[in-house]
């Protein structure tokens, strides 16, 4: 990886980043502010989250605010554009501090720790660090045929690439939460994006080749999906092991048609059962046509009892997503389009939040989503979204 930090590829058990006394003070103060925010409401975020997952009474709707790493670092430097998203990929301590600062600043229900890598180079491809985003793949994806899979090993998130740094940050968040008492009131939400389809399509085979192979060379698709699924399970297990209380995975059904691709659902079922049996686990779906996958995903137990609890949905008809989820007793959070959050106006943001809250309140496992908070999203827009979610989400 071009521009990789010195610790790249250092196993998690050998990775240590020391906090200075001043930084320890910062961590403590952030946690104190988080606890103060929590104390101002009737239920704690942990109680609210557990009640939502169980379909029980809540004081207000749980807020699933996906602000992600770039916005966390944006909060940390007060929007100065001095610290960049690349810095959280290089320095896991900044990732921790950014999330704590964002939680404290916006009085959120939980952090949204997001991966700092997508396996771009771990299947044989090349990648480079990027100033304003996660590292990206450069050149062609490495797998052109089944023959290219010879010798390809499933990466180990505890040892390979930037993943140990991410796991270190997740583990450290849990330790800090526990040390200062935040753990009792707030769950640790961790993402394992992206899903096997995204991994196979984007970082192993390439979009076009994968989709053409789905019609002509199913073995290539199945074998790459097998590897990507095993990777996802390893990654998911690793974040659970370092203390994640709930896990979300960006999922790509909806980017492709379900017709003739029904076989892909089995991979979600496998992941859903492994992770869903340990912690609340759900998908993030961002394509309108993901709705067409819902029935089969439920039928094949990729979602439902003993598997994934449900989904976060955006860029789709929220009424249909909520109706299906209510009918099948699934967790569902719905967010307005991120473009509205970015560009406003605030009145439009508030209206979109209100619509979803009003429609979703009848579903006992509904949460209001705010996503995805872009690096350039004005703080006033994000604040207005949270305030609207609390106001219209109140029972």
């Amino acid at each position: 990886m071009e521009g990789a930090p010195e610790w790249y590829g250092t196993p998690l058990d050998q990775l240590e980043f020391e906090w200075s006394p001043e930084e320890k003070l910062e961590l403590e103060r952030y946690c104190q502010k988080i606890l103060k925010n929590v104390a101002e409401e009737e239920m704690t975020p942990r109680q609210r989250c557990e009640a939502t997952m169980a379909g029980k009474t809540r004081d207000r709707l749980l807020i699933e605010a996906l602000y992600f790493n770039p916005y966390a670092v944006r909060t940390l430097d007060s929007g100065a554009d001095a610290l960049k998203p690349i810095d959280v990929c290089r320095y896991p301590k900044l990732l921790v501090k950014g999330h704590l600062a964002t939680l404290a600043r916006f009085a959120l229900d939980f952090p949204t720790l997001y991966p700092i890598s997508y396996t771009q180079e771990l299947w044989g491809g090349k990648s480079k660090m990027l100033e304003y985003g996660n590292p990206c793949m450069i050149g062609d994806p490495p797998i052109k045929s089944v023959a290219d899979l010879e010798g390809v090993e499933i990466p180990d998130p505890r040892k390979d690439g930037l993943y140990p740094g991410y796991l270190w940050a997740c583990r450290e968040m849990k330790r800090i939460f526990t040390e200062y008492g935040v753990d009792k009131v707030m769950p640790l939400w961790v993402s394992i994006c992206v899903d096997p389809l995204g991994t196979a399509m984007m970082f192993m085979v390439g979009w076009t080749r994968f989709m053409i192979a789905a019609r002509k060379d199913l073995e290539l698709c199945r074998r790459t999906m097998n590897l990507a699924t095993e990777w996802t399970i390893r990654f998911g297990q690793a974040v659970v092991d370092v203390g994640a209380d709930c896990v979300m995975m960006c999922a790509y059904p909806g980017i492709i048609p379900i017709k003739d691709n029904e076989w892909m659902v089995e991979y979600y079922t496998k992941i859903g059962k492994v992770l869903g049996s340990q912690v609340p686990f759900w998908y993030a779906l961002t394509f309108e046509l993901a709705l067409t996958w819902f029935p089969l995903m439920y039928e094949k137990e990729a979602v439902g009892p003993g598997s994934s609890r449900g989904w976060f949905c955006t860029e789709m008809d929220y009424r249909k997503a909520i109706d299906f989820s209510q009918e099948h007793d699934l967790y569902c959070s719905c967010a307005p389009s991120d473009k509205i959050l970015l560009n406003g106006p605030i009145s439009a943001i508030e209206e979109e939040i209100e619509r979803r809250c009003e429609y979703g309140k009848s579903h006992s496992k509904f949460a209001i989503g705010i996503a995805a908070v872009d690096y350039l999203t004005p703080q006033a827009n994000f604040e207005a979204a949270i305030a609207a979610a609390k106001r219209y989400g109140e029972f």
Binding site: L130, T208, M211, I255, F287, E288, L289, D338, L376
Partner: protein
């Protein structure tokens, strides 16, 4: 098979993302004395447009658009030497690239395919491209349309750097400058000095066509009209 039938089947084949059928029909079309330009603009392009419109109505999947675009680009790659050997050219030239600091290319390739399908010669200069690369390619290929893609929102501002480079090179008035990418708005488009922005590949093509026929003024004309 008649020429009309071949064109109709080509449209159907690309709509079905059937690359083998497309390749076979292209050969049959050439044997039936269809010109390469007819094959592109009357056979493949209407099919690609159908997919684009279906995507905008949430009836087709994003990946359909990507795959159809790749098929289109491959076919044009095969037909271009035949067109050039006959002393003709595809239409006006568009230079397109992803701006410095960003490497996303899927949306850019869809736009490239859509313009190719409409008869333009598209020169894709790649990703993470500095402003001078846009300028040099515009001069070298005598492009009349310059497209800049910026998906990562913080690099959207770089579109303004490209605009300035086009101005400094003295070629800004000779081109239509269009920008696109996640979260791009009219406000951003104006801010960076672009003539228009594409909300989608179809929107990009539509706006460029409107500028060319005088139905949508370029930014300088709009500024003049509003007294800015």
């Amino acid at each position: 098979m008649s020429r009309e039938e071949i064109l109709e089947r080509l449209k159907g084949a690309i709509t079905e993302l059937d690359d083998e059928a497309v390749n076979r029909l292209v050969k049959e079309g050439l044997q039936a004395r269809l010109s390469p330009l007819e094959i592109i603009t009357e056979g493949l392009s209407p099919g690609l447009t159908l997919i684009g419109e279906g995507y905008e109505r949430s009836q087709r999947f994003m990946v359909d658009l990507v795959v159809a675009g790749e098929i289109m680009i491959d076919v044009v790659g095969i037909l271009r030497p035949i067109i050039e050997a006959s002393g003709k050219q595809l239409g006006e030239t568009m230079v397109i690239g992803t701006v410095e600091g960003d490497v996303h290319n899927i949306g850019k390739r869809i736009v490239a395919a859509m313009f190719t399908g409409s008869g333009y010669t598209v020169v894709d200069i790649g990703e993470n491209m500095p402003a001078n690369a846009f300028v040099e390619a515009t001069k070298r290929y005598k492009a009349t349309i310059v497209g800049a893609s910026a998906v990562l929102s913080p690099v959207k501002a770089y579109c303004q750097v490209i605009n300035k480079a086009l101005v400094d090179a003295g070629i800004r008035d000779d081109v239509i400058y269009i920008v696109g990418g996640w979260g791009m708005t009219q406000e951003w488009s104006d801010k960076v000095g672009a003539d228009c922005y594409g909300d989608s590949a179809i929107d990009a093509l539509h706006k460029v066509k409107m500028i060319k026929v005088g139905e949508l003024p370029k930014i300088r004309e709009r500024m003049r009209a509003t007294g800015l």
